[in-house]
Amino acid sequence: MKFVKSIVVVVCILCAGAAYAERREADYFARPQIGLWFGPVTPVFDTNQVLDTNLGGGLFFRYNTPYRPLKMGIDGSYQYFPSKGVNSLAMWPVYGSLLYRIPIKFALMLQLKAGAGGSHMEMKPDGISQWEPMFTLGFEGSFPAGRIINIGFRIDYIYVYEGYIKGAQRGGHIVNTGITLFFNVGGK
């Protein structure tokens, strides 16, 4: 009888442990996160006529909000665009964003992103260097590789706004695609 009781207690503990562990596992993604991405940066629309695709990369940090599916983020990246001629443009976008995690039970964590900020722009050989406002919309997917590591992808559209500058008739349209590696940090 003692043996049976012992088995029941062990099974209960194991089940409780598994249930507890499952709940905590779901929470890992809700921790603050820090990560990096790397991939092609592609000018699109009329920007594609003056700049060429290249590789870019950046860092990002995410923090929770009281509303669990929503996170706040800050992103910084370096993107260098050559052209068919001698012109080139180096961009350092820095922006804040809100990320909404799509509430679908799926192996992948899917997030929608919207943000705004500024981008430092340096055009050569003209030697023009300045900050410009920018806006972004994005989509991210990732799956956990353990408690800490997440591996995923991201697709961001960046619009560099120049409408406030006299004589401006265009803006910058960039699509960032990349693979991401980020870490759940802090929290319990």
Partner: protein, 459 residues
């Protein structure tokens, strides 16, 4: 928790404040150009003289020694005047810095209305360079082609026969014409040097940006870099020699820029140093003009050079330093071997052997000049003196043609500068030639400071 969100909000606001700094529309700067490169095929900066028909016939000079222009018709077809000029430019650089790496080809009609020849110019795509001062433009010339080149060979009877049109490759297609750019790689002087294979005068072709160079600023709405190649009314017919597949002597008759500055003699090929060009820069809206009337009674050119320079700084002296000769008395130049006759007549072979004896005699003379003179005064110094003389020729930055009794106007002259203006009679330009300094009929200088449209500068 509230404090934490305040920090984020402050960060976002700070980012938004920082972003208000830019004042140049970068993507418009990338899509448009402030620098405009304009290519012209004229000696004149505006108002060029029409193509002069006699120039096409006044071309029987030293190069056409085997088959004359008259003989072409007998051979079956005359080499007609060119009707097309084809230009293939790989890229351009300013002081060695790339700014225009868009290859461009031009197929231009040899007419007075074509923009390349009417003073308007054709545009070459470029990007804006770094804002600074530039003094030299390097143009990477791939092809320079005139059409209407013809091939002839000497048949066994000793008569010339027409073989068809000369062929060249332009825009990756075979066309009728002759690419004389390949002959501009070396001048004849270069070909005498040990390092001749390391010299290339057209890839790149270096052009001085005259009249103060190019001071490029991206604060100006537009800056024009005008590049002029002297092509119009500066064309001659030449002959090259070779053997065809059957071993017969063949010649090609083709059109190319005049060898007025560095003469091409019979049985020679290098034509380098005869492509003359000048570049200048101006900012539209910051220019004036110099105008006046030609009362000299003859047609001519109004030419302006920036003060304190004078015309003598551009045109070489009419007291020529002659090209070292090669004749039966003094041969300071390597003699050319005669071509084997194709004919089966005894006379043609006797003629060949006679020429060969002459060649041997001249070669001995040449050896004496080169080999026995330890100080090289008869050969090296003579050729160096000749090159030093011809290499100083410059094309004036401003020039226009003016018929007798008409008004002239030099356009797009930068404001605030002083120019020395000269009149040069048009007759000096006949026979695909350019003027020397101090030749008869030249008038000037008139010193003109340009503060706007400067009129009444009559000759």
């Amino acid at each position: 928790m509230i404090k934490r969100y305040k920090s984020w909000a402050l960060l976002c606001i700070a980012a938004a404040v920082i972003t208000g700094c830019g004042d140049k529309p970068l993507f418009d700067e990338l899509a448009t150009n402030r620098l405009k490169v304009v290519l012209k095929g004229t000696f004149e900066s505006n108002g060029p003289r029409d193509w002069q028909a006699p120039l096409w016939t006044a071309t029987d000079h030293g190069s056409l020694n085997d088959l004359t222009s008259a003989g072409e018709t007998t051979a079956g077809k005359a080499t007609a005047a060119p009707r097309k000029f084809m230009l293939d430019i790989a890229e351009m650089k300013l002081n060695g810095s790339p700014f225009a790496n868009y290859r461009h080809t031009y197929n231009l009609d040899v007419t007075d209305t074509n923009p390349f020849f009417n003073g308007t110019g054709v545009e070459f795509d470029c990007d804006d360079p770094e804002p600074k001062h530039y003094s030299k433009l390097k143009v990477y010339l791939r092809k320079l082609i005139f059409n209407n080149g013809e091939l002839y060979h000497l048949n066994p009877s000793g008569a010339w026969e027409h073989d068809g049109a000369l062929k060249a490759i332009f825009k990756e297609s075979t066309i009728d014409g002759f690419d004389f750019n390949q002959l501009l790689v070396n001048s004849y002087y270069d070909s005498l040097l040990e390092q001749d294979t390391h010299i290339n005068r057209v890839f790149p072709f270096s052009i001085v940006i005259d009249d103060g160079g190019l001071d490029y600023s991206n604060k100006d709405e537009e800056t024009v870099l005008e590049v002029r190649f002297v092509i119009k009314n500066f064309v001659k017919k030449y002959e090259y020699d070779s053997y065809n597949d059957d071993g017969y002597h063949q010649v090609g008759h083709y059109w190319a820029v005049s060898d007025w500055l560095r003469e091409m003699k019979a049985d020679e090929e290098p034509l380098g140093g005869n492509l003359l060009a000048v570049a200048r820069a101006y900012v539209p809206g910051k220019v004036g003009s110099i105008s006046g009337q030609n009362t000299t009674g003859v047609a001519g050119y109004a030419v302006a050079v920036p003060d304190p320079k004078t015309i003598a700084d551009y045109f070489i002296s009419s007291t020529a330093v002659p090209r070292p000769p090669c004749n039966d008395i003094a041969c300071e130049d390597s003699p050319k071997t005669p071509y084997l006759p194709a004919g089966n007549s005894v006379e043609s072979f006797l003629d060949y052997y006679l020429k060969y004896e002459q060649y041997k005699h001249r070669h001995n003379e040449f050896y004496n000049f080169v080999g026995t003179d330890s100080s090289n005064t008869d050969y090296e110094d003579a050729w160096n003196a000749y090159e030093d003389y011809v290499k100083d020729y410059r094309i004036p930055p401003l020039a226009t043609y003016v018929p007798s009794g008409s008004n002239y106007s030099l356009e797009n002259v930068p404001l605030g500068k002083t120019y020395n203006v000269y009149f040069i009679p048009a007759s000096i330009f006949n026979n695909a030639e350019l003027p020397h300094a101090g030749e008869a009929g030249q008038l000037g200088p008139l010193s003109v400071t340009v503060n706007g449209d400067e009129s009444g500068r009559d000759f």
